[in-house]
Symmetry: C2
Subunit: 333 residues, 2 copies
């Protein structure tokens, strides 16, 4: 029920995930409204099951409070189903703070994890990079950044299939002396880890180069970075559009260029990514964009399935513990 | 002598500033090399004067040390000329840390200024915004961010000619409760100032919307923001290029679109901006990009001239003092 276009688009995405990729999807929410949507889409009785939940967490509600008060909200019930292992994972396009709160308080942190984080997906010229944290934890300790990096590395390796992910920490320059106390401590600890390919600092301009597969930072910087990239590409598009409108030749060019532009737009669009995983909690929960299209929901469900299949709890726990050890090691050396 | 393409490109830019805009430019650096460049460009004996300086601060030198040791470096001598008021302002495409150090230690801070900052220029769909700080101060206090904002506001109003600049503080969301302790304190203080148009938080995606003329943040975030925007547009261009190369139709389209694309490229390019002012020091010093073209140097010199003409020391001092007062007010209320 969460998200700007729910439930119509959410149901359509789920139905497509079932029909196109054979996923078993359980819809959680207002039974009557969901069944209307299913009928509208011509879904057969047996295609998607519905699990009734009478309440909805609104997009602007205070997350913790909403989850506590609305025990029969689609989001809370969905989390309960994951916690009870009645489903293998969940996707929500709803209130992202509430999804994070659900991860923390309903699913619970994995052993050794200080703070769970959200793994965003950044398009690069070579593919995609994982951005940890993309906004869950606004103020962080070096230990947390290290854990984000190591959990992100597991995700890139096991779910995205990158053989040996290259890991970086966001800073204002490449040299070791750059950055803040926070980034320097995090980088120094990551440099001690023989199990990962740590490539040091990554500057804003190199985030999209494909030279890094895992990009670690605090949630404040991660959010600014991700949204700035979106904003810059949007602004570039707006400027180009105006320039094109002022010239017939350019308009003709734009027409011919249309399909190529559309291909690139798709590559940088969240629609194709689908979901951002919560890393560091029990079970699988994927955050989808609030304005997710049916295609975005479909992709998020696929990503959740893949994440669940990989059964990463042990690996993520090990990564978080290794992160903590790096600091003990550093203090001892 | 500083910058990746110096002195050839620097001299060419200076000569163009003289010929095209009537600026009186003094070249500071190795007399022999500068005169060779001037001859190569067919400059007359009286067009540009040369002030000899025997040393050069390298791009990767430790800033403070370099300035102290190389007393006859082009950068140090240039700062001395500004401090002695023998010139009205200076431009350097050299070691940016050393330019900052020169501002601090040779020119000196304006009364009441805690830390000087660098005002970057961000292209927006409506024009340009000033980004303060774009990288000089990696770790900041709320008081410093407030001073950056107020000094940036003076620059936007007096030099860029924005009648009533709209001021924002970078954060991970628009709501007052978002951000960090740092941003919340800075925003709360700015909200108390009746002399400026404070619009609250600005998210990464809105940085380019033109809804803000002055965008205040710490130097770490400012650097990440600026470089991420550069990187995102670059990556988008790379992806588009590849897509175009795989299709004849798209190639034809790109050919027709070329001039429009070039116009947009110019708008987002640092070349057209030229320089980033040091705000909060005595005198005028402009940082130019290390890879500045002649056109970038020309524009930086023009910007320095305009800045010098406006005689902003009083206004900047008043802004800095007002910033400090906002915190006293806040503590008292």
């Amino acid at each position: 029920m969460g998200g700007d276009l729910a439930p119509a688009v959410t149901v359509e995405g789920a139905l497509r995930a079932h029909r196109e990729r054979g996923l078993q999807v359980l819809l959680v929410g207002d039974e009557q409204r969901l069944k209307i949507e299913l009928r509208r889409l011509g879904a057969g009785e047996t295609e998607l099951r519905v699990h009734h939940a009478s309440e909805v967490v609104e997009m602007d509600e205070q997350p913790g409070q909403a989850l506590r008060k609305k025990k029969d909200s689609s989001l809370k019930v969905c989390f309960d189903l994951v916690a009870a292992k009645e489903v293998d994972g969940m996707v929500s396009a709803g209130n992202s703070g509430a999804v994070l709160a659900g991860g923390l308080f309903v699913l619970g942190r994995l052993d050794g994890v200080d703070r769970p984080c959200i793994g965003g997906s950044l398009p690069t010229v070579k593919g995609r990079a994982v951005l940890v944290d993309m906004g869950a934890n606004v103020e962080c300790t070096p230990e947390q950044i290290v854990q984000f990096a190591l959990m992100g590395e597991v995700y890139a390796r096991k779910v995205l299939g990158v053989a040996r992910p290259k890991v970086g920490v966001v800073a204002n320059g490449e040299e070791e002396g750059k950055g803040t106390d926070l980034t320097r401590k995090a980088a120094a600890a990551l440099r001690l880890d023989p199990e990962i390919e740590f490539r040091g600092y990554v500057e804003g301009k190199d985030v999209f180069s494909g030279d890094f597969d895992v990009i670690a930072t605090d949630g404040f910087t991660g959010n600014v970075l991700l949204k700035t990239a979106e904003g810059a590409v949007w602004a570039f598009g707006q400027m180009l559009k105006r320039q094109i409108q002022s010239s017939t030749v350019a308009s003709a060019g734009a027409l011919l260029l249309g399909p190529a532009l559309e291909q690139v737009r798709k590559r940088v669009d969240y629609e194709e990514i689908g979901g951002a995983p919560l890393l560091g909690v029990h079970g699988v929960a994927m955050l989808a964009h609030g304005r997710s299209t049916a295609r975005a929901i479909l992709n998020a469900l696929s990503a959740a399935e893949l994440f669940a299949q990989k059964q990463l709890e042990e690996d993520l726990t090990a990564a978080a513990r290794r992160g903590a050890t790096l600091f003990t090691q550093r203090a001892a050396s």
